[in-house]
Symmetry: C2
Subunit: 352 residues, 2 copies
């Protein structure tokens, strides 16, 4: 029995995003920028003490406990925080809510690949200015007329961090549109654009629990911005699904935010491992832009990236390889534990 | 500091759906069709045994453990099951994926209010044929040309269940479009349209963990249909967010599906309470269509529905009231435990 061709006509066909491999066997997993350390101890306790009977009820649609924890942590109003099912959910809602213009949205040619997918899904015109030969965003490219701007800082997959004056320059020159700074990796990098929120109402900062907070498996992301923007985001969110955040996300999320000491300790350890890993990679002849995220975007003048990627995979070491234009010879290597990185380097020292 | 009016121009404004009240204090909560019984004992155990370290990793993007559990339970292929963050997420994806025509989508005037919200959000034309004076869907209204059809069975908020031949009549006469049967309440009612899947490729059946499976707080819903349809749904889903189902949903969801005996026992108890509650309501002079869901949609010739709603609320008994056209004098009462219903009736006996 075939599908009726008339049905096919009215189906929306999209080119789906291909996520990084999620091998289910035991491997050294340096391919999707996860945190090598477990969530905060308070999360473990919250899991053990979970009131399971509460699952029969709908969760709080306003996610107020989690919103409140984030607003306290960042010293912003509760009406300035929007939460969603991972920063992908938050960013997708932002595209739908704020990029509703006929003018093109701008984002770099080398960046998080989901931006293009959402723009196409929502039929938003877009233009992708090329990053320079060192993979840096050229700020002048964002001075032209546009329907909105989005870029990650640090950028992905390059790990390049731009200082706050660079970000402010783009935000301040585009006060007629929304500028979204996607700060998934900010905790490994430097100052956040959150500092600019008091000055700019057109700025939205998006962050996630998936990286520095060790909670990729919980799917929690958030946006912080002016109350008016957050209100519009919530209106769109409620029109999809009133209850997007399940009860465990709400309860465990709060615990992950609370424990600042644990957060700083594990982030510190990852940065330490990264700085050491950079030295090791350099000694091995690898070349990479200065990495300020929990990953390094590296190439080697003598190795073919795809061959190295495959060789690593045979050793059960997973890194990320795209093979797309301009980055055919690059691998993205997530910072794991010191021990995991040592295994990686021990293989690289034997390679070729 | 005001929001720049130019920014406002390009923001998508939607009329958000208003969910039922979620009082946080101790009340008799008969307003959002939740299950009065806790999730299956296996869920409690899974919560206690959760591997919290796993939270640091992304969940399986294909949700294969949950898809597998559902495919085994319903005796369908794994490629016939799509899972999402509650049936709202699933239905919203279905609207976006399948209702992509210039012809109007059809759904009843009195039905789940989210259908209208999604149609407007995605700018899908729609027509809402009126249900008859007894609130029954008129099947002839669905014989006209259209871009797709969706209706709940049992319908909400009327609780009216239509037999399988009625559903099949609509599905078979509309083989050029997708017909979605929203079976959120089917386990309290009768035969599911799942039986028709072998015959019709244009049929999609959507169900949820929020009602009969006592897991509203976990946000799990699913669609079952032809593999081709499920593939298109997954493509759209991956273009939003690769990882919509968090780790607890995947692990606890499987446990909720496994325990058939507990499921049947608690559903049986709710049906028993409902049948008794119908008799009690009748004796008190209430009038209602025969209720086949876990709620009763009732009116009383001598009471004003809004006044009764407010009076109940003062007693900390929450039911649902809309006051919208044709149903101004109706209340939707969720079936709680026998004890909760006794408190409701004890108040109603004293009322006026």
């Amino acid at each position: 029995m075939e599908l009726n061709p008339k049905i096919l006509e009215n189906i929306r066909k999209v080119e789906p995003y291909v996520p990084g491999e999620q091998p289910q066997n035991r491997v050294i997993k340096l391919n999707t920028n996860e945190n090598p350390y477990p969530p905060a101890p308070g999360v473990v306790e919250a899991v053990r003490n979970m009131d399971v009977d509460r699952f029969r009820l709908y969760p709080d649609p306003t996610a107020s406990s989690l919103v409140n924890a984030l607003s306290e942590y960042y010293g912003v109003g509760e009406d300035q925080v929007f939460v969603g099912v991972g920063s992908d959910d938050v960013l997708s809602m932002c595209f739908l809510t704020f990029f509703n213009s006929d003018k093109p949205v701008l984002f770099p040619d080398i960046t998080y690949s989901f931006y293009k997918v959402w723009a196409e899904l929502y039929r938003i015109p877009y233009v992708c200015p090329e990053v320079d030969e060192g993979f840096r965003i050229r700020r002048e490219d964002y001075y032209r007329e546009n329907g909105g701007i989005i870029f990650p800082n640090p950028n992905a997959p390059t790990a390049i961090y731009e200082e706050l004056d660079f970000v402010e320059d783009i935000v301040s020159r585009n006060q007629d549109v929304i500028v979204i700074v996607d700060e998934a990796y900010i905790d490994f990098a430097g100052r956040s654009a959150l500092e600019l929120l008091d000055k700019y109402k057109n700025l939205l900062v998006v962050q996630t629990f998936s990286k520095a907070r060790s909670m990729a498996g919980m799917r929690i992301g958030y946006a912080i911005g002016a109350p008016e923007l957050i209100k519009y985001l919530n209106d769109v969110k409620y029109s999809f699904n009133s209850y997007t955040m399940n009860q465990p996300s709400l309860v465990y999320g709060v615990e992950a935010v609370k424990d600042k000491a644990y957060f700083e300790e594990t982030v510190g350890r990852i940065i330490e491992t990264r700085e050491w890993a950079k030295k090791e990679l350099k000694e091995l002849g690898f070349v990479f832009p200065d990495a300020k995220a929990n990953f390094i975007f590296a190439t080697h003048p003598e190795y073919d990236a795809k061959e190295l990627f495959e060789a690593l995979k045979k050793e059960n070491i997973y890194v990320r390889y795209w093979g797309s234009r301009r980055i055919e010879q690059y691998l993205r290597i997530t910072i794991g534990t010191r021990e995991e990185m040592e295994e990686l380097f021990s293989f690289l020292k034997r390679y070729k």
